[in-house]
């Protein structure tokens, strides 16, 4: 049996020899890098927390912190003003870039539903790119039940990121709703999601940097992650899952990985056509064993799924095995292809696009809906008058709301106001301390927090 030594000549052919700069932008991004810092001995280089909210910055465990718009926002957060955030970042860009002084590649993590994530990240990525730094972005899309303005902002930010960065992983928060019940704590699910993303990104970075028995390269990964066209209504291109186990039970390890929170609703198996696999084990992880594990995993995956494995030995892990699955979509589907062939201008959304509702859509949009209805699908079925979106399939159907022929039209779905945006009225419990458990304010009606519609 031939085994490759970790220090042998074939063992090290990494994408980069330096550790990446790890940059968390906005609250979601900071949450993920904090998870990385708190949960992993292996820290991927210097870690930066960037936000407009001083409290979020102070609470972060990142090694470097940068407050955007100190003179504009006074550390109180951006209050949803994307343009102000953009201007603030542009004003402070020199200071910001100076902070990112070392390193030749960066991993930028952000949530595109937030103001800072969607407005500041493209500016930062653009500045880093101009300095010749290679960039991998992990972006998280907002829930479909969030406001149209947020969806538009996320879409625009995504398009800019895909134009600038070398690799953009886009995951969707909607996947957390896969088997979410009214009793589930969505904030807890988001937290778990951030943990899973953090673990996956750590092992992904390590496989790129440290080499290993089976090497991953950025170019291979790039081929397997599609950059969707500007204006596309498609959602994510990546689904991540991570698990670790100390036992010998490989079947269980694989089972746990395939049971990842983003895999729950099964969308991954309909959309993904590639699987980047990261396997990290202790000194006892031989080539034979890793091949066995990968073979077992391969047999569990759908036929035709492109398989890209990376294997790394970390002596500190002893008997532990860590398995990361990054399912990706490598080709744009019909809807996206159509979009990409069309004039980009027709999909440029107004700078200050406000939420529009079905009742007051413009005639052109209405025509699009009409055409769509003629194709046999009633938009009421998928729109959301009856219940706030809780059915992942319904949500996803919106991806394909394009007429069968002619110019694609915008479709305006009726949106619920995100509870987080609403000032909480504590009513009867105004004089009491809030009862907050797992991030939920229990003084607020359960049906409201769970997004249930009540028929009057």
């Amino acid at each position: 049996m031939i085994e490759f030594s970790k220090t042998g000549p074939l063992a090290h052919n990494p994408f980069h020899t330096t550790l990446p700069l790890l940059i968390g932008v906005g609250q979601a991004g900071i949450s993920v890098i904090d998870e990385i810092r708190l949960r992993h001995e292996w820290i991927p280089g210097r870690m930066y927390a960037v936000d407009t909210d001083l409290q979020a910055i102070r609470g972060s465990v990142a090694t470097e912190k940068f407050l955007i718009g100190k003179e504009r926002f006074y550390g109180m957060g951006s209050l949803g003003d994307r343009h102000e955030v953009t201007r603030a970042v542009q004003d402070q860009m020199d200071d910001l870039v100076e902070m990112f002084d070392a390193g030749d590649w960066a991993l930028v993590v952000c949530g595109l539903g937030g103001t800072v994530g969607s407005a500041a990240t493209p500016e930062i990525v653009n500045a880093l790119k101009n300095r010749g730094i290679q960039i991998v972005v992990q972006a998280m899309l907002p829930f479909q039940f969030e406001s149209q303005e947020r969806q538009d902002a996320a879409r625009e930010a995504r398009a800019r990121l895909e134009a600038e960065a070398d690799l953009v992983f886009v995951t969707a928060n909607d996947r957390l709703l896969g088997d979410c019940t009214p009793s589930d704590d969505l904030r807890e699910l988001i937290h778990l999601h951030h943990q899973e993303v953090a673990c996956s990104l750590v092992d992904f970075c390590r496989l790129l940097v440290e080499g290993g028995m089976i090497q991953l390269s950025l170019e291979d990964c790039q081929e397997r992650v599609v950059a969707l066209a500007r204006g596309s209504r498609s959602t994510e291109n990546t689904w991540m899952s991570h698990t670790s186990d100390r036992g010998e039970n490989v079947e269980r390890l694989i089972e746990d990985a395939l049971d990842g929170i983003q895999f729950h609703d099964g969308r991954v198996w309909e959309k993904a056509d590639s699987m980047i696999v990261g396997l990290v084990g202790g000194a006892d992880l031989s080539m034979d064993r890793s091949q066995d594990i990968l073979r077992t995993l391969r047999n569990r995956l759908p036929d035709g799924l492109d398989f890209l494995p990376g294997v790394l030995v970390d002596n500190r892990l002893e008997a532990e095995l860590r398995l990361t699955l990054i399912a990706t979509q490598s080709t744009a589907e019909f809807a996206d292809t159509v979009v990409s062939e069309l004039d980009e201008k027709s999909f440029t959304y107004p700078e200050d696009a406000e939420t529009e509702r079905l009742d007051d859509v413009n005639p052109e949009s209405a025509k699009g809906i009409e055409e769509y209805n003629q194709a046999g699908i009633d938009h009421e079925e998928i729109n959301l008058g009856e219940e706030v979106v809780s059915d992942a399939d319904s949500i996803y159907e919106q991806d394909f709301l394009l007429p069968q022929h002619g110019t694609p039209q915008r479709y305006f779905s009726e949106q619920e106001e995100l509870p987080l945006d609403r000032k909480a009225d504590r009513g009867r419990f105004e004089k009491t301390d809030p009862t907050t458990i797992n991030g939920q304010d229990l003084d607020q009606p359960t049906f409201q927090r769970m997004g249930m519609k009540i028929r009057l």
Partner: protein, 411 residues
């Protein structure tokens, strides 16, 4: 008016979110407890089991005590007070002492040493201890003993359940009563008191959970091998459910409360979506119809969430297989239809609704689960008086003075 002699009676007082209740029991010479009567007043100024409006709350306490005095012809001079609130928490502490004597015999001094050691265990600086409940003694680190005195061992260990809460909130509760010239003889955690009315010794040994669904809080206590091993207070109760109904169905709070009591049900399953309840017109409100399905949906969501939080807390004990006696629901909010079904969905042990209590005395209160806390508190008081009999003469005066000071954290 004839007033009975004070030493023969104990009074239990609960300042609840929906009502204030004072129960008066007579300690009989044969050792039994006889319920003389219960005074009640609609509560005000109390939310989530805590006083938020001192003067209003004090007034309702006064009304309840006066009502009890009138009904029982007993002058209430001191009470045992049930306390609750989400600030209350508990932890298990284990302490150990060496038996240095030649024969290594365990004496009462060693037991006292353990009590003292347990008292020294740290709790948050702004907290005060409500109960320090002995769980078990351990001889030579392994063997469990109920009465270790007289046994021989190199070491004696004990575990205690220490229940503590925010000192200023407890002091506020005590002061609201003490300022009415009513002494507070002792405090008891509300679910611990309820458990006294519900659980037999066997049930405590077999492993039981008592969940008290109150208006302001959901309290629970877990017994195993005869000892309390866990307690919890969630600041969520029937009040929250009423508010949910009020906001969800656009009803005034008082009408929502009436709807909950009269038509409330917890499961929307099997209800036709178009089924409606007509709320009759009265001098306050116009006639209106609401969908039964909507009402059940709102109530189910709240109850499911609350019980699920209790379940998640209990899951951490990892003791479900040992809680063979199951879960006992009590409290005013446990009277809602469909609770058993929701509880069965969630808990992996038998579920029982305690709707009736057995005691001697005025049986008109025997079918009132909302009184479980005061009825249990009377039993707690009976036990307390047996263990700590009142002093007479000047000793009694000193004791009352010390009690009053210690209750407000000054002594």
């Amino acid at each position: 008016m004839f007033f009975k002699k004070e030493p023969d009676v104990v009074v239990a007082l609960e300042v609840g979110t929906s009502k204030v209740v004072a129960a008066v029991g007579e300690l009989r010479k044969d050792g039994s407890l006889y319920l003389l009567g219960v005074g009640e007043a609609k509560s005000s100024g109390v939310r989530k089991g805590e006083v938020v409006d001192f003067q209003t709350a004090q007034q309702t306490i006064s009304e309840a005590v006066s009502d009890a005095e009138n009904k029982t012809e007993v002058m209430v001079g001191e009470v045992f007070l049930a306390v609750t609130g989400s600030h209350i928490t508990s932890r298990t502490v284990r302490v150990k002492t060496n038996t240095d004597d030649e024969d290594h015999m365990i004496t009462p001094r060693h037991v006292e040493d353990l009590d003292a050691l347990a008292q020294q265990q740290p709790i948050p600086a702004d907290h005060a201890v409500i109960h320090q409940l002995l769980q078990h003694y351990y001889i030579d680190e392994k063997t469990r003993s109920t009465h270790p005195i007289g046994l021989n061992s190199h070491h004696l260990e004990a575990t205690y359940q220490v229940i503590h809460g925010l000192e200023n909130k407890l002091a506020c509760a005590v002061r609201s009563v003490a300022e009415l010239d009513v002494d507070v003889r002792g405090l008891a955690l509300a679910p611990y008191a309820s458990a006294q009315a519900i659980l037999t010794r066997d049930q405590k040994n077999q492993g039981s959970v008592v969940i008290d669904l109150g208006a302001g809080t959901t309290d629970y206590v877990v017994y195993l091998d005869g000892a309390i091993i866990h307690t919890g207070v969630l600041g969520v109760g029937g009040d929250h459910m009423t508010q949910d109904i009020s906001l969800g169905l656009k009803l005034p709070y008082q009408r929502a409360e009436m709807v909950k009591l009269k038509h409330g049900l917890l499961s929307p399953k099997g209800i036709h979506p178009d089924e409606q309840i007509t709320l009759e017109r009265d001098h306050h409100y116009d006639e209106r119809s609401i969908y039964t399905h909507s009402l059940a949906k709102i109530m189910y969501a709240r109850q499911w969430e609350t019980l699920n939080m209790v379940r998640e807390d209990l899951n951490q004990l990892n003791l479900w297989p040992r809680l063979s006696s199951g879960i006992y629901f009590t409290g005013g909010a446990s009277q809602v239809r469909g609770l058993r079904e929701v509880a069965k969905e969630l808990f992996p042990v038998p579920v029982q609704l305690v709707q009736e209590f057995s005691f001697e005395g005025d049986l008109t209160f025997s079918r009132r689960p909302d009184l479980s806390t005061v009825l249990g508190l009377l039993q707690y008081a009976q036990n307390y008086e047996t263990i700590h009999p009142k002093k007479a003469g000047f000793g009694r005066v000193v004791e009352l003075f010390q009690n009053a000071l210690s209750m407000v954290g000054l002594f």
